[in-house]
Symmetry: C2
Subunit: 420 residues, 2 copies
């Protein structure tokens, strides 16, 4: 079988790495995404909390791939895969044929069977999620300025974040800083420092993926910022007025979901076996069983590498994209061997507000201000494009020295279902 057409679904970390790995190869590559931009998801929470502008963490995919002349970028929404006919089906009826397919369609947040919670507690995966959350946070303060009932104002100034992983911790820390350091002085009817930020985690500790001492440090750093950390506590109800934590009611105008993810429906498109999070159970070389011509990578794939499941993080997706590109290049030269994927853990970083962070590289563990600077440098380094690095660095430096934020705009129009 000759390989003439490679189709990549998704322009996230995995899909982009695959496309870059195939740049210049003797094969025609088509990358399809439903958005026109690649998103640097690790900083999405900073857009949600008005620290960064959308254009500072997102770039047009086709612009990132402009020099890869054998790669075509298409804007389109995938609705199915015909593995027999080797075609991808798009929403507008188009069928895109492939010889080799790379599925890198990522994941969305999951509500564990409570999909009706989504309208009250938006999650954070796409750029639009971030502007929605930003709008809700800023609107809560605006409404508080005009609210005369003390009880209702308290609910407007209460922010509940569900999920104590890196995203939840980072959101809670930056919202607390927004209320305590950025907004005081802007309002006349109340003091933003009276805001309440509650971080709810069902497990016994925040940042469960880190070592226990780093996790305990993160909790203390959050509490120092004024965040109430509630571990071992499950959310049992989310509605337009707030949340229930078992028997306890918390009235809150803003609830943000950072508690879990569900893979894109690739397993259903392929009729392949999946795990509970909907991820395709792939072979050691990232192919789908019985389909050596279909690779699944990133948050959509489930693979046990060297005895441990590969985590759903950006470095894993990038490594897998590069690995699959190398496998395809090998096949183009006639090498049809199985190339097993091995995950290289590059460590974990999480930040708590403007001056604390935890870093675990395995060989070194750090916490505090030094960890924060390391985190900042690492993220600027990984941002794509010199100009964005400069702009983000300038922005951070400004915020760090002045405590102000530049992106506090409410730009979306009111949506009817958006009054929570």
């Amino acid at each position: 079988m000759s390989i003439e057409r490679v189709v990549i679904l998704g322009g996230g970390f995995g899909g982009l790495a695959a496309a870059r790995g195939l740049a210049g190869a003797p094969v025609s590559v088509t990358l399809i995404d439903q958005r026109n931009h690649h998103l640097f998801q690790p900083l999405l929470y900073q857009v949600a909390t008005a620290l960064l502008a959308t254009s500072e963490i997102a770039w047009p995919i086709r612009s990132l791939l402009r020099d890869a002349r054998n790669v075509t970028t298409l804007l389109g929404t995938v609705v199915g895969i015909d593995a027999e006919a080797r075609q991808v089906k798009l929403e507008d009826g188009a069928a895109i044929p492939y010889d080799v397919l790379i599925v890198a369609t990522g994941a969305r947040h999951a509500y564990f069977g409570h999909d009706d919670w989504e309208r009250h507690a938006p999650g954070l995966k796409m750029l639009e999620d971030a502007t929605t959350i930003r709008r809700r946070i800023l609107m809560a303060f605006e409404r508080a300025e005009r609210e005369t009932s003390a009880e209702k104002r308290a609910a407007l100034l209460t922010f509940v974040i569900v999920g104590g992983g890196p995203t939840g911790v980072e959101l809670a820390g930056t919202i607390a800083e927004l209320a305590r350091h950025t907004l005081p002085g802007d309002f006349r009817a109340f003091d933003p420092r009276d805001s309440r930020v509650v971080l709810v985690e069902a497990g016994p500790r925040v940042l469960a993926a880190f070592r226990e001492d780093l996790s305990a440090y993160a909790r203390k750093a959050l509490e120092r910022l004024g965040v109430e950390v509630r571990t071992g506590t499950a959310v049992t109800r989310v509605d337009a007025e707030g949340v229930m934590l078992a028997a306890e009611r918390i009235d809150a105008a803003t609830v943000i979901w950072a508690a879990g993810v569900q893979a894109s429906p690739a397993a259903d498109w392929l009729g392949a076996a999946k795990d509970r999070a909907g991820r395709v159970m792939v072979e050691a070389d990232l192919t789908v069983p019985d389909h050596p011509e279909i690779f699944v990578i990133g948050d959509t794939a489930m693979l046990v590498s060297d005895g441990k499941p590969v985590p759903g993080v950006a470095p894993a997706a990038k490594q897998q994209g590069a690995h699959v590109a190398a496998t395809i290049r090998a096949r183009l030269t006639g090498d049809m061997a199985i190339h097993r994927f091995h995950y290289r853990d590059q460590g974990s970083l999480a930040t708590i507000g403007r001056s604390a962070a935890v870093v675990d590289f395995g060989w070194i563990r750090l916490k505090g201000a030094l960890a924060w600077w390391l985190w900042g440098i690492a993220h600027i380094f990984f941002l794509i494009g010199v100009r964005n690095r400069l702009a983000v660095a300038l922005n951070w430096l400004w915020i760090h020295t002045s405590g102000r934020r530049g992106a506090r705009l409410i730009t979306q129009r009111d949506l009817p279902d958006d009054d929570g």
Copy 2:
């Protein structure tokens, strides 16, 4: 009558200047706007054409007024004014009492009786207008990449701008540059340089407010960028597929309206006399006839100053806001004299793409590259806030040297009525 409460409607150039002029005065000031941000409208076209991010030209009003402790900022939509009871009515039913009222609610684009054209040809006044237009322009190129019919692709790559004033000229110039300098290389199915940009003006020349030689220069500069300039040509129909110019049909997926403005409905709220554009005919001191306690300023007011109508431009609104604040300060000391407003014309500037501009300060007239740099420096100078000046300067320098653009994101979801 004692003055205790001043209410300002609108946080644009006029309202903000009035609020700043009253900072620290012995009076309680409330500024009401339906958006949370002040917008630097003269650069809005750069957001629409992906040169700048929204947060680079807009700032939270309450943040701009945080140090004016006697000024309260409210987010609210005005639906009426009860001049007898001296109350402003908001959409949510609230009534805000005033002793003195300053109406600075601006203008929207006008379709001269063809309101149904708006959905096909959006205008450019608010931040949301700019992101809508940006989305349409970028989506047209995305759709062209997937279009197989040559005729339909040509329509997708045709951009019609209606109105040859500064906004229309600036939009046409930057869209032409986007197509000719930024996008080539990004697409595989067509060459963006084949795009067609048509600027339609009903009058005999573009930039009619400038001297004839500058206006002729602007036309030549546009044509050098590849813009078709059609003066003396009226648009007789706008629909989902394009426009009619008398008997001539132009198929175009993107039509942008820059042809006229209509004042906000303040005259109707007040039951005051208005001109054809809906502007309140104000007295020489900017008050409404028979209502010395109500001032109308900026694009909502019509005043003949020193024999000439005051134009609807940012400097006029700023001067009027400051003038009204001074009048109110005088009244607070018991000086109830009439303070006539005199407009100081600070000149006109307009830019044509990345290196040409026309400047007319009365005592000096410039065109070409020097005018462009003068225009850039003037605009950076007038941008509010050091950080934004730096960010915009950095952005322009980057674009000027590299030809790339940073803000090419399509972030709005598809709207059902937004397929034109």
